[in-house]
């Protein structure tokens, strides 16, 4: 009995060795194009601080969000600096009992008179280091277990069992 047309197209054409280099090149080009577009989009979105500093007086009071940024300097209880891709963004306002290396999410407004970000809402991610450690542990376990789940045969990955 012949298989349905959609099944034959999906299985035989899309995943066949014949023509694979072209299809893979197209898929990789699409991934690269999406990556480039996303980088352009994200840099504009992440550039809140730099954007505000380009014209501080015009952008005074602009809302700003800093999700999962790392504390890079503690000056006193009300003055801190945070970094991610952009380095050393100054914060004014209480953010709890944080130390250098801690992770914060901050929502606030640009204050051109300082200049700094005046903190309105913050979250201190006290478990972030444990989460990162779990991520590394999970990666190590996955790499260690991979040979038990897969093997290489004729330059292809084959599932065991």
């Amino acid at each position: 009995m012949s298989r349905p047309l959609a099944d034959r197209l999906f299985a035989d054409r899309l995943f066949a060795d014949r023509g694979a280099p072209v299809r893979l090149a197209v898929a990789l080009a699409l991934i690269a194009a999406m990556g480039g577009y996303y980088a352009w989009w994200a840099i504009r979105a992440e550039a809140g601080w730099r954007w505000a500093m380009e014209a501080p007086l015009e952008r005074d009071g602009a809302p700003m969000v800093f999700p999962l940024w790392v504390v890079t300097r503690v000056i006193d209880a009300e003055h801190h600096e945070i970094s991610k891709v952009v380095r050393d963004v100054p914060l004014v306002g209480p953010v709890g009992d944080v130390a250098v290396g801690d992770t914060l999410s901050v929502q606030g407004r640009f204050d051109a008179s300082v200049p700094a970000v005046r903190v309105e809402v913050f979250e201190h991610h006290t478990l972030r280091k444990y989460k990162e450690a779990l991520g590394i542990f999970g990666f190590v376990v996955m790499v260690a277990l991979a040979p038990f789940a897969f093997r290489i045969e004729r330059r292809r990955i084959v599932e065991r069992g």
């Binding site: 995943f15 980088a39 800093f66 999962l68 999410s105 789940a149 990955i157 599932e159």
Partner: protein, 166 residues
């Protein structure tokens, strides 16, 4: 994103409890979005702290591999590492694992932008916001013993079935 231990355990349980095949490929699929997107991005961010010459775009360029369209394409490309006759099954398992990854991640809440599910067609973002972004750390001590228990039960069941078949 939830951590890789949580993702792996959830994927294993989703496949192993109903006794479905291709568990390892499905677990690999659920880890791929973080391995292809978050790992290089976080590594390069850390590297940029000591080596400012690392360009900013290089940190963000991996982002789409943690989004539905990127997961679909990555599953397709990765399927070609497997033999021709297995590629469709591998692709569906890698894709299924990736979708499960997003579902688990969407349970979390973050400041700012959530998950861009329609990128590159739309900048609309979504997350359910039911748990904090680090709450999976509290779940892991429960999830790992359950997963190990199910793995043990599945091995025993498979061994018993093999004996009965023989």
């Amino acid at each position: 994103m939830a951590d890789l231990v949580t993702h792996s355990c959830v994927a294993y349980l989703v496949k192993a409890i109903p006794g479905r095949p291709d568990v390892a490929t499905f677990v690999l699929g659920t880890c791929l979005p973080d391995l292809l997107s978050r790992v290089p991005s976080m590594g390069l961010t850390a590297l940029r702290a000591v080596l400012p010459a690392v360009p900013e775009w290089l940190i963000y360029v991996w982002g789409p591999l943690h989004m539905p369209a990127g997961i679909l394409l990555a599953a397709y490309v990765c399927a070609f590492a497997f033999p021709e006759g297995r590629r469709r099954v591998v692709f569906l398992n890698l894709l299924g694992g990736g979708v499960l990854h997003l579902l688990v991640d969407m349970l979390q809440r973050h400041f700012g932008v959530g998950y861009l599910l329609l990128f590159p067609f739309s900048g609309w973002d979504f997350e359910l916001g039911w748990i904090g972004s680090e709450d999976t750390v509290r779940i892991v001590p429960i999830l790992v013993p359950i997963t190990l228990g199910v793995a043990w039960w599945r091995r025993r069941r498979d061994a018993r079935r093999a004996r009965e078949a023989a």
